[in-house]
Symmetry: C2
Subunit: 434 residues, 2 copies
């Protein structure tokens, strides 16, 4: 259902490669387009791509709103006034970013507006394309920074004073917004500047769609996740003079726990991963007396996530009991600290249906798959305050946050076609619902 | 069999506490003797205790020889000329050392000579007390440094040029020997300056004697040991977007291996320990792409040590095969590098018998135990070039290389009594063997 509209094959990819000039970095292949992009939030390069985006959307007849945190809302008029249906993502990248993460979603929105304009199509309600500031959290260390502020999930003061971690002399968000001219007048708030819905087209950043040979991921939400720091206190002693039965070996206990993390993840059909481990005293012939690691647990269900943690706590206590030698002079001790929690995100049924119906209409049931997002996105923020859903396309080898991030030209266009149709479907739904 | 000689109760411990003035550090209890000692090799403090040792042994009528690496040989004359029977250990300590490690052995030798002198006892052959330079390898990073040079297991040039790692401005062994006046004339060589035998009295530095309630350990040798560096290459990916089946998680594989190290050690009745682990990139939400750890394997038998390594290699290969997800785009890769090997040391049967017979004579079969040394000692060096054995006394809680290192006053005297008798037994044996 795209009202007779269709995309211009290959034009979105050209636009993606065009904007990669603002920060191209990290050659991975022989072609001129085979590089990544480094375009940190609120940098000079970010200003250039923003200015270009504003100029392009103005040419299409958009009204431009910039809010206090630099989010850009380019609003294409509809038949009726009212709150716009939004297509949003981000133009900033990781320091070792690729060409697609974020950029794809914003430029796909721009492409939708171009198609509207070229076909003299007027939606029932305004359609906005949104560029959210600092989604990556790479320069200013807060991921989905500006969409979180818009959703009022964080305070404006904490965000404005956030200092950069990639500059030799740190600067604040507020200083950089002012410097590049994107400290807007409109409050950064869903209350003052609401959206009727938010659609985001994004690369999967994981291997699922590719490995299952699907064209489109209909994203139904994002996994809940928790970070826990686990610390094991044991006893340092000489590796040569301490019998196995007299040891309280903190690393042996930690190794059993990390192995158990994987087993528990399999059991609950969730994810548990350990990326960080610290060890003391870290001497070849001394048994470690203190080991800590952080585990990252994820699940589509908040309830199952809690159950995984409860299981792990019980397993860890058992490991501590059984890892201590009977002749050890000092017991192993366990402590677990909760560092971070993010609730499961469930996207809006109407938005999901718009994406699903269009995907199946275009490619058939066998080529699409409902999927949960494993990573955070601006859509996770917007979902707190307006109906939201996302569309994924396959990522080659699941690689992202790397210059080698890649999706095929066919996928790029297929995702765009779904986005175009889904936004028109939702616009029709708004009219029916009134 | 101590020829009617007996020790003076408590005097050796007084002498130990006296010399602790040269470097007392690290208070662990209320009494003035409840500190550790920091007396690094060839430091000013080391010079002080050396000068005191030389002066004390001179008073007893010893001839003093200092070799090129600063080893001190204080030789008490016998009825016959000839190569001396030695009692040796070291006066240097770890930076966070205790009062007993090394010091006990040298001062026990001094005490034996005092008892000879006080009782006008003249052994059949000369008896030397030896202070070996830099046994700890803490200041100059080569453990049993000077006994290894004496045994010609290392080259003189490599040792003389060794630089200190505890000084802000590194200095060489040769510079420090010259500075403190202990660069002697005699070549540091068992050929030029031979010993007829070497006895060493030492604290166990492990928990075995204490936990089995034994007074004396008859040391029959030292375990063989190997250090291996194991490196696992996997694939970095996002903890949230990468299904378990698509991972090549280097830390998960390493954790399984470390757990397996312990199982294989139990199976072979040996020791395998991991004290060091490194991880890349060490980010909470990124699956580790590279993990390396060093394992320290020990066994009384060279053959069993080899078998443990062969078993572990096979197990590690199996772990690498089974830890890689079926959908992973990059296989896990294993490499194993051999860093260090020390062969099993088997002490001399006659020396062992001298210790064993005296121990049983004094304390009965039930209070003594044959034991392998888990740590390296100067006696491991001397055993290559002359008949050698050691005597252990219990260490409280198995603690060593710590200010809290402690053995009871009774143990201190019991070890000395065995040493006195064992040296006299060996001296008799030499006379009989001619």
């Amino acid at each position: 259902m795209s009202k007779g509209l269709s995309i211009v094959q290959g034009r979105l990819l050209k636009s993606i490669h065009f904007t990669a000039q603002y920060g191209a970095k990290g050659v991975w292949g022989g072609a001129s387009t085979e590089t990544g992009v480094c375009r940190l939030a609120l940098s000079d390069l970010d200003k250039m791509v923003r200015d270009w985006f504003v100029s392009e959307t103005k040419k299409l007849g958009c009204e431009i709103k910039v809010d206090a945190i630099g989010n850009i809302f380019s609003i294409y008029p509809g038949k009726n006034d009212g709150v716009p249906t939004a297509i949003g993502s981000h133009l900033d990248t990781q320091p070792t970013g690729g060409r697609y993460d974020g950029v794809y979603g914003v430029l796909a929105g721009l492409e939708v507006l171009k198609i509207f304009r070229e076909n003299s199509f007027v939606p029932n309600y305004p359609v906005a394309v949104v560029n959210w500031t600092n989604e990556e959290g790479a320069r200013f260390p807060k991921a989905t920074m500006a969409s979180s502020l818009w959703a009022e999930n964080v305070s404006e003061e904490s965000i404005m004073n956030l200092e950069s971690i990639t500059d030799q002399k740190p600067v604040t968000v507020e200083q950089e917004l002012t410097r590049i001219g994107y400290r807007g007048e409109i409050p950064a708030s869903y209350k003052e500047n609401p959206l009727a819905a938010h659609f985001e087209l994004h690369i999967e950043q994981g291997p699922i769609l590719e490995s299952e040979n699907k064209k489109i991921g209909i994203v139904t939400g994002a996994q809940a996740y928790d970070w826990y720091k686990v610390t094991i206190q044991g006893n340092s002693s000489h590796t040569g003079t301490t019998p196995l039965g007299a040891r309280s070996d903190a690393l042996l206990a930690a190794s059993r726990m990390i192995t158990k993390c994987n087993e528990v993840a399999h059991k609950h059909n969730g994810l548990v991963s350990v990326g960080v481990i610290d060890i003391e005293p870290a001497v070849v012939n001394v048994i470690p007396k203190k080991v800590s690691f952080i585990y990252d647990a994820r699940h589509a269900s908040d309830n199952e996530l809690s159950k995984m943690h409860a299981d792990l706590t019980q397993e860890f206590e058992e490991i501590v009991r059984t890892s201590q030698g009977p002749l050890s002079i000092k017991p192993l001790e366990l402590s677990i600290e909760h560092l971070f929690h993010s609730k499961a995100v469930h996207f809006d049924p109407d938005c999901i249906s718009s994406v699903k119906d269009e995907s199946i209409h275009l490619y058939g049931e066998s080529n699409v798959k409902e999927i949960m997002s494993g990573a955070g996105h601006d859509s996770c923020s917007t979902s707190f305050r307006c109906p939201t859903s996302m569309i994924f396309i396959p990522s080659r080898n699941g690689i992202s946050h790397s210059p080698e991030e890649y999706s095929t030209p066919e996928s790029i266009d297929e995702g765009l076609s779904v986005l175009l149709g889904a936004v028109i479907r939702y616009d029709e739904l708004r009219k029916i619902k009134g």
